[in-house]
């Protein structure tokens, strides 16, 4: 039991980091579901794209010799902003090419197209990286500052990269919250989510609001991708599958279409996973170990959908029919 207590702070930090990561990705799922009522299955690739933009910029800076000379904060700012921008634009392009032509089709048709887009993007990324770098397994260059640790007292040390994830995610979530709730564009998104037909009658350009939603959701996914890369270092075109599905689980857990719900769901899922990864083995005396953490998320997903399909905070999806 003492061992269990010893690792508790570490588990908490891991859980928070994972939780913010899932929360950021989950926003993309939940916002798109809010306005279009469909699962943007390719969002996981938008997330991976962010991670690849990050590693490419860092590698370019490194090969040009700037990585050592520029201030790390400045480098991080560039990397994060470009990851967000490109992922956001990619999400908009995705919507324009693969989803908008299907807006009037049944929902499952759009979902199948989204799955196709997800597979296509994975291999497209692989193809591009193979062409460019002759490999598609990339490693983030080390930024010395990130590997340092900060003591928090009580024998707890936190790596700077974990703090980076936490702080950046907090800022992004706060900005997003203000954007959605305090600006005209945010109000337009909420209006379309509630009732696209009425919103359109009120003079809101629905298609542009949908594109904006994809951009914002994509940018959040891209941010998560960059943070994922900075934190875990390794990326490949197929890295998005599990984080994507877990983030979707988080979105459902919080109540799909519900933005605070996605944040809460992400955090709950991140914590559950961190605890499962560390304590499952201790609790079952080694019979079941960390390798079950991925299964764990799916079990949560299945249980939530069956027991409480509207999620913890309730769905904010328009009523069908009526």
């Amino acid at each position: 039991m003492e061992l269990a207590l010893d690792i508790l702070p570490q588990v908490l930090v891991d859980g928070i980091v994972l939780g913010f990561m899932y929360a950021l990705i989950a926003l993309g799922y939940t916002m798109v579901y809010g306005v279009l009522e469909f699962i943007n299955f390719a969002h996981s690739e938008i997330f991976v794209l962010g991670a690849f933009v990050g590693v490419e910029i860092l590698l370019l800076l490194e090969s040009a010799g700037h990585l050592a000379t520029l201030h790390t904060a400045f480098v991080l700012l560039i990397v994060i902003l470009s990851g967000m921008l490109l992922s956001g634009l990619a999400a908009v392009a995705l919507e324009r090419v693969a989803y908008r032509p299907l807006q009037r089709s049944p929902r499952l048709v759009a979902l199948i197209s989204a799955i196709g887009a997800s597979f296509f993007l994975q291999d497209a990324l692989r193809f591009f990286e193979s062409l460019w770098r002759n490999t598609f397994y990339l490693t983030y260059p080390t930024l010395d500052v990130l590997d340092k640790t900060v003591p928090l007292g009580l024998n707890v040390v936190v790596p700077v990269k974990s703090l980076l994830v936490i702080v950046t995610a907090l800022v992004a979530l706060a900005v997003l919250h203000l954007f959605v709730n305090r600006t005209r564009l945010g109000a337009a998104i909420r209006a379309v989510a509630q009732d696209p037909d009425t919103a359109s009658l009120m003079g809101i350009p629905v298609n542009r609001v949908i594109a904006l939603t994809f951009f914002v959701g994509g940018a959040m996914g891209g941010l998560a991708g960059v943070l994922f890369g900075l934190h875990y270092s390794l990326v490949n075109p197929y890295s998005g599958f599990f984080p994507g599905l877990k983030a979707f689980t988080a979105a459902v857990l919080g109540g799909i279409g519900n933005i605070p719900g996605a944040m809460l769901g992400g955090m709950v899922l991140g914590m559950l996973e961190a605890f499962a990864a560390s304590y499952l083995s201790i609790l079952t005396d080694g019979a079941f170990g960390a390798e079950y953490k991925d299964v764990f998320a799916f079990v949560v997903l299945i249980l939530i959908l069956i027991l409480r399909p509207k999620g913890l905070l309730g769905e904010k999806v328009r009523e069908e029919g009526a």
Binding site: L111, I112, I115, F120, R126, S130, F136, V252, L305
Partner: protein, 415 residues
Amino acid sequence: MKVGLTHVGVVAYIIASSALVFVFPQSVLAFLCFEASLLVIYYASVDQTTKFCLGTIVLLVLLPLLGSVNGYYLEVAIQVGIFVALALGLNIVVGFVGLLNLGFVAFYAIGAYLWAIFGSPQANHFLPGNLFPLSSVWFFPFLLLSVGVGALTGALLGLPVLRLRGDYLAVVTLGFAEVVRALVNNFDKPINITNGPKGITPIEKPPLFFQPLLEFLGFSVNPSTLYPFYFYFLVLFIAMLTVVVARRLEESRIGRAWKAIREDEIAAAAMGIPVVRMKLLGLAVGASFASAVGVLFAAKQVFINPESFTFMESIGVLAMVILGGMGSIPGAILGATGVTILNLQVLKGLSLWLNSVRQSGIVLSIPLFGDFTLSQIPAQFEPAKYERMVFGLILILMMMFRPQGVLPPRQKRGH
């Protein structure tokens, strides 16, 4: 029977394309021409009996003959047969009942592991008595058993998820398949049931029950040359069986109930259809197809591991169903054949061609870019490595331009 010009044309095509394969046994193109003869038969305006006879000749006589010229063709045909049965199973779930099952591969895995565990020494790890591997005679009982186990797991998965909205159901079935894969991957401890990522080998093959007969007739054939043909006929038989089962169901009250549920669940219930029971039945039948084919797959491969049962496989089968046309049995057959041949022959063929180009050492002079040696083409460009891209493109393009598929269900004339 009136023999028209069409009959002559079809037969001529079949003879010509088979001859082409005999002359150029290594040519992918020649074999593709031969495979197309089945399409020619399907589309030719000749009567059903002729179609049936010609199809039987092509599948039962010509294809095995060509397989004796180039063994790879048998392998291709076996794979096609496996995927035809899988696609027909998924077509029942997605095409008839209208449930988007993204975890279909799970049932395939369950069937495969069922035979792999008991048809190899693996079961000795957790059952006493050193009884395993079961002798190959048990293959057929296990084939039957797998139908039951598949149906049961299909229905058990259905019970909790059927109330979900269509898109949620899709994600949950995906999750279910990943859970199955993770369990298979990790159940080498605390008790070693699946041998984890290392996989299981050697798995018993089906029994050569006809060997005494062959010997009696004076043939002494080496089992290793016999097995590819044996598997070919076995797969052909099972694929045909699935076609018959799927067709009979489609034309029965059960098939009509499935389609009614797909079209309008509330109206279906109002017409006296027990919606939940029918959906469960659909999931169970689809799963039983996959599970039975899984047994066959394990026996054919001799070695299986969790890598054969990924999400990509599920999507591959989905792409086949969608390419052919959801709810269409000829469509599912065409889709499975087309996609399998695309993967096994066209993409592999292009990869081989690319390799030969690279090894040729030719130097291209491109204006402005200077010289480019073809051997510099990276190995990562091999088209065979981009299966996902192919599946993805099929899904997107079909949804955009032809959601009903290449061979959508047709209205039947008369009955």
